[in-house]
């Protein structure tokens, strides 16, 4: 709900997974400003400055979107499709972070132009490691479009 720079938009409906991921990212100082939304519809509203987020400066785009797939109401794949089809948002790197290892899901995501697909490690250690690694890569190493 801030109008400032948002570095990471995390779209995740599982509160515990979100909390653990945010804690890890903050701990490794990878991010200061992270917004966590728990369903896809709100995420779209945020990105396009509509509904709940009407009036937000949509040019202030997140540097990274972490997107879960299995969410209630609007499905993650639908969110991905909208993001990657719109001029405004299609250059933002989207990382799908999901428990689904299903080929159809992976295939659909890459067809829609996802930048990375990560299957959430089942154990906590692995999960934290993955969050840290992807954080380092996408926030520090990777060069975004302007």
């Amino acid at each position: 709900m801030k109008n400032e720079e948002v570095e990471i938009l995390m779209v995740e409906d599982n509160k515990q997974d979100a909390e653990m991921a945010i804690r890890a990212l903050k701990k490794s100082h990878l991010v200061n400003n992270l917004i966590h939304l728990d369903d896809g519809a709100r995420a779209i509203e945020f990105l396009f400055g509509t509904g709940e987020f009407a009036g937000r400066d949509t040019n202030k785009k997140p540097r990274l979107i972490l997107l879960d797939l299995k969410m209630p109401k609007m499905d993650g794949i639908e969110v991905l499709r909208i993001i990657k089809q719109h001029e405004l948002t299609k250059r933002i790197p989207v990382i799908v972070l999901t428990s689904s290892k299903e080929s159809p899901d992976i295939d659909s995501c890459y067809s829609l132009g996802v930048n990375s697909y990560i299957v959430k490690p089942v154990d906590f250690d692995g999960f934290i490691k993955a969050i840290n690694e992807l954080g380092f890569y996408w926030m520090l190493l990777n060069q975004n479009a302007e």
Binding site: Q16, M20, S100, K101, D123, F124, F127, I128
Partner: protein, 501 residues
Amino acid sequence: ESEKMYKAIASGIPGSVICLLDEDYRYFLIEGDLLDKLGYSKEQLLGKKAVDVLSRERYAEVLPDFERVFRGEVFTYDTKRGDYYTLSRFVPLKNEDDKIYAAMVVVIDITELKKAEQHIRELNVGLEQKVADRTAQLEEVNKDLQSNMLRLKESEEKFSKIFDTSPVGIAIAVIETGIIRDANKSFLELTGFSYEEVIGRTSLDLNMIHEEDREKLKQEYIENGKIRDKEVSAFNRSGESFPVLLSLDHFLIGEVRYSITIAYDISKRKKAEEQLMAANKELEAFSYSVSHDLRAPLRAVNGYARIMEEDYSNSLDNEGRRLLKVIKDSGNRMGLLIDDLLAFSRLGRKEIRRSAINMNELAKNVVAEINETTPHTANIRVEPLHPVMGDYSLLNHVMVNLILNGIKYSAKKEHPVVTISSKKEGRELIFSISDNGVGFDMKYVHKLFGVFQRLHSTEEFPGTGVGLAIVQRIINKHGGRVWAEAKINEGAVFSFAIPEQ
């Protein structure tokens, strides 16, 4: 005059003699060329009495004949004289008063006749023999024919029975024209046609089979001369399609080639197959979803326990920290259980793919990998192993599991030894993995392969109790069996048998 006549008669019959005798048995006429052969001359006999000119024996022979003829008898007889035969005929001559005044004796050389007679007799005998032989032959042939006919009848009856009562559809057609000559009840029921509708028509007329399938079948027949168990779509009288398993063969009767088509309705089977696939898919989706839905909160349990450890360890005493550890360890264990359960379920649905496996290679690879990934002090001995037909990855899993178990349960011994061996018994190949470890109580051997069943506590030896259940499932899928023997503290032997292909 009469002399001339007699002479003429005699000369008319070559090889003959006519003589006339009077009451005193005097030859008063002798004419004929046979006389010479008989050994007499005209001068010798003419005008003389027989008693005076014939030898004593000869006269004794002819006297009774003379007496007979002069008594009025007419008679004839044959005589064999050395190498020739004669016929003698005695006829009494009567005068006007009906009194016998002379006897006429005609002797004719019938040697040729006799020879001919003999020849005919011989021919006859020969002929009779030939007839007898031929009759015997014919009787044999007849017997064969009859037994063949009997066999044919039996075979025909057998075929008829099979044809009529067979639960699969059978149709017979002429190959060249495709015209159906016969169809059994099952075929008619299957296709919905009546006998009259089908006989004399072709499957093309009746639209019984899909164009593409027809082409496929033709190809197969041209290549192999027969068709075996081909799945095709057939159409019944109402135009509905149904899946059918088709086999075709041909046979020759005289010059005509016939086809015999066997059609088996597999709609039920196909349906069952589809249902099975659907059920499997459902199960796969279910177990996947279950495992992932279970894992999310598990991640949180572990994660939050860790967060507590990191951020609040100062506020915790030893007991508090111990409690946290229990929470973490339980979470980890649940993760293992979920993993193993998922693997167990997946394995149950997997199709095994058989190939020839060199078990020596497999064992070597497994041991090498174990040595690299798992620290242990066991001496692993691999003896020469028999090759088997089986699924490489599944049997690999079995070996890994059993060898790791062997290592695990002998780890507490000073010199742990794990031995892998095999032997062939009857039509089975038996593989054994033995260790000199802690063994188990044979009283509980029946629990060994149950899911989540363990005979030791997790503190003594880690494990979820699914490993052996998975091994059993895999071996059962190969048509084999598993079993184990052990003595407490002396070790255990785990064996599995796979039927040789």
